[in-house]
Amino acid sequence: MVRGRYGSAWYFSSCLAFVLVSHTSAVSERLLVGHGGFPTLQAALAKARAGDTVHILPGVYREREIDIWLPLVIEGSPGATLDGEGAGEILRVRASGTVIQGLTFRRSGVSFLRENAAIRVEGAHDCRIERNRLEGCFFGIYLSKSARCVVQYNVILGSAEREATSGNGIHLWYCRDILVRGNHVVRHRDGIYLEFVRHSTVEHNVSEGNLRYGIHFMFSDSCSYRFNLFQRNSAGVAVMYSRFILMENNRFEHNWGESAFGLLLKDISQSHVRRNVFLSNTTALYLEGSNHNLVDSNRFHANGRALRLMASATGNTFIANSFVANTIDATTNSTFSFNTFRANYWDRYRGYDIDRNGYGDVPFHPVSAFGILTERFPALLLFLRSFIAELWELAEQVFPVLTPMAIVDPTPLLKPPV
């Protein structure tokens, strides 16, 4: 509680006078909305003082463009619903320390001119948005120029059928020190979107069935996302134009489509991708313009292409990953590569381990000649399992012409590490 936090700060000062002052000015009230209380939230807000709790009783309240200028706790009994009726925004938090919890929000308005959200936090810090339910909103929870806020355990169900008429589920713009935890986002444009964000954590969320990305980072340095599940998003996940990103223990699953990626890294540097699972994606991990990243202990299982490494990606290290049952393990559009592969497990590896140290004695070249050709002529994928392609592969293994010798794992593992 906000009052409690301020209270304890005062006690620390251990000054009796201050304690007395803080207590006399701090009689927090509880205002009820509905069922004989205030008829609307706005009517209650007009009477509320800083630190009060506004409790909304069950019912549908057709209210929108509600501004909160004082630090309040706005909470609801189950079934307390604010309905924006498809026009404008519903709630705008402008006071630091505000708490919004346990409410249902319905239908913020679709607009080309304004990014209408169900809950917007505008330049307010230390806010908590938790356990709310959002249904059919344009943008869901939108934080702008805010810091130290927590967005947790919300359920955000979009109604998006086309990208044009749907905004992002959780949208952070120019924020820092934000925690986004345990939310469930479905059917928005991007499930979770970060632009110009610093030092923020996104963890234990489920983001699925979104029209574009499950999570989308733009220009957001020093953030991490962990233990999230991203599945069945039409373009997967994109992390772009950022540095110092930690991506760990996430699952990227079932992202199918010509331009879908389990994880797309574009202009990402000095970041760490570890202990993730990539299952059943058209392309599991795609790197372009991304340098000096560490990719370790990930599991690539049953993807079309496990790894696509563009010529512009250099200085990356791939270590202790497992590549199992992928149609193509790795492709690249260049014959040169300045990346390091070491001690990965490749189920295609047919080498031996005479000295029994766990590492194969002959190097493994994960990029196949046919994989290179399909980068240049995607339609050739039609002949992936053809006799000619097999023959070609065999010939390449004896006399490599197309296979880039630069991408090589000198010490392939014989058993999967993860």
Binding site: L113, A164, L211, R212, S234, A235, A238, S259, K266
Partner: protein, 157 residues
């Protein structure tokens, strides 16, 4: 067939050979520069080559950077098209567009610039207000402010 008709049909054929912009399919097309899905119909751009190939972008920023990358030599560029902010999804020729720089609009690549049909900005007071800039200034903004990271000037950083 009269002579006139022959001339007219030949002219029509020639006109048909002129490259025409391909409409951007929002939600399906992917920006050739940044690989992002093109989803916001208020933004977007397209570059047409002499051969009629269309390169689509999610934002003006990407078209500028793509041109600078030299993947398509300047002499092979036929025309440039931009999405009219005032009429989402519609491509208009770059020459018939004006550009507005405003913090009130978040463009997909973060530069906060939108394109609008010449004259529309004055006529439509609902369009977000900002500073009108030329295409040359957009290019400069991309090459200075955008490449170096648009983060300076942020209130929190």
């Amino acid at each position: 067939m009269s002579k006139q008709r022959v001339v007219v049909s030949i002219l029509a054929l020639l006109a048909a050979c002129q490259p025409r912009p391909e409409p951007i399919r929002f939600g399906e097309d992917v920006c050739v520069y940044c690989q992002m899905g093109i989803s916001d119909p208020r933004f977007g751009a397209e570059l047409l080559t002499q051969q009629g190939r269309a390169y689509k972008f999610d934002a003006l920023e990407c078209m500028v950077e793509f041109e600078r990358s030299g993947q398509v030599p300047t002499e092979r560029i036929h025309s440039r098209w931009v999405v009219d902010f005032g009429q989402p999804g519609e491509l208009i020729a770059l020459e018939s567009a004006e550009f507005v720089f405003t913090p009130a609009v978040h463009s997909p690549m973060g530069l906060n610039v939108y394109a609008v049909l010449r004259g529309r900005y004055e006529a439509d007071s609902l369009l977000p207000r900002g500073r009108k800039i030329s295409w040359q200034e957009v290019v400069e903004l991309v090459q200075t402010q955008w490449r170096q990271g648009p983060l300076q000037g942020s209130p929190l950083q």
